[in-house]
């Protein structure tokens, strides 16, 4: 079963963004999908047309992780890294996050909580920015990237609209 309608986005405070979603799997599996590189790179792919060539995770307190996404269209890359602050297996993860081209000041702190009830796991990701300004900057650029991805997709659809011979 899938629960796409359980998806929620909140702004619990001036400095936070929170995303939550239910998954039809025990939390040990969801925790694995968030912490094992060979699993993470199968779903955390970025916008359509992007791949995840680098996904390294050193799952211990003080250990770091490194993600790089790559656009198959123009070869541009986007990287992100961080350090684990707290690891409570299958329950909770706290890690810092910083993008290589840091468009928002400082680091953000990501808390991921996995709560299981009758075999369904509610996963809540909270991103805490250093300031409201940082959160809003991250939000704005996220919007631009999202729109860019939207335009890319539109481009792939355009030949159909104009009725070009295929």
């Amino acid at each position: 079963m899938r629960f796409p309608d359980s998806f929620k986005i909140y702004m619990p405070s001036d400095r936070e963004i929170q995303v939550s979603r239910d998954f039809d799997a025990p939390r040990s599996l969801v925790f694995d999908a968030f912490t094992k590189p060979e699993l993470v790179r199968r779903w955390l792919l970025g916008p359509p047309g992007w791949t995840m060539p680098v996904c390294e995770i050193d799952l211990r307190i003080g250990g770091s992780y490194r993600y790089v996404w790559r656009s198959e269209k123009d070869g541009s890359q986007m990287g992100m890294r961080g350090v684990f602050r707290e690891i409570t297996p299958v329950e909770r993860l706290i890690a810092t996050e910083r993008f290589d081209d840091a468009w928002y000041p400082g680091e953000a702190l990501d808390t991921t909580v996995f709560e299981e009830r009758r075999g369904i796991t509610r996963t809540t990701i909270t991103i805490l920015y250093e300031s409201q300004e940082a959160r809003d900057t991250a939000r704005r650029s996220g919007m631009e990237q999202g729109m860019a991805a939207g335009y890319d997709r539109l481009e792939t659809l355009l030949p159909t609209f104009t009725g070009e011979p295929t």
């Binding site: 796409p4 986005i9 039809d24 599996l29 969801v30």
Partner: protein
């Protein structure tokens, strides 16, 4: 102050902080001006952000289904061995 008026004032303060409305400094009337631009921007961002996570979580649904099936299969084969 009635609780409804207090609630109304609180609501106005939140809208003001979010940059959605501004008030003139006429203490008697305090007319408010609505600026919907930040709201449109926020909505647009939210839509893009939602789409990004929704697509990722759909892929995660598929992956978890696969992992669950693989786990059951493994359990069955160990049961057979016993």
């Amino acid at each position: 102050m009635t609780s409804i008026a207090a609630f109304h004032n609180r609501h106005l303060r939140v809208l003001e902080r979010a940059g959605l409305i501004s008030s003139a400094s006429d203490a008697q009337r305090r007319p408010r001006k609505l600026d919907a631009r930040p709201l449109a921007e926020a909505t647009e961002w939210l839509e893009a952000y939602r789409k990004y996570w929704e697509a990722s979580f759909m892929r995660l649904d598929g992956l978890l289904g696969e992992l669950k099936a693989a786990g059951k299969k493994r359990k069955r084969s160990t049961a057979k061995l016993r």
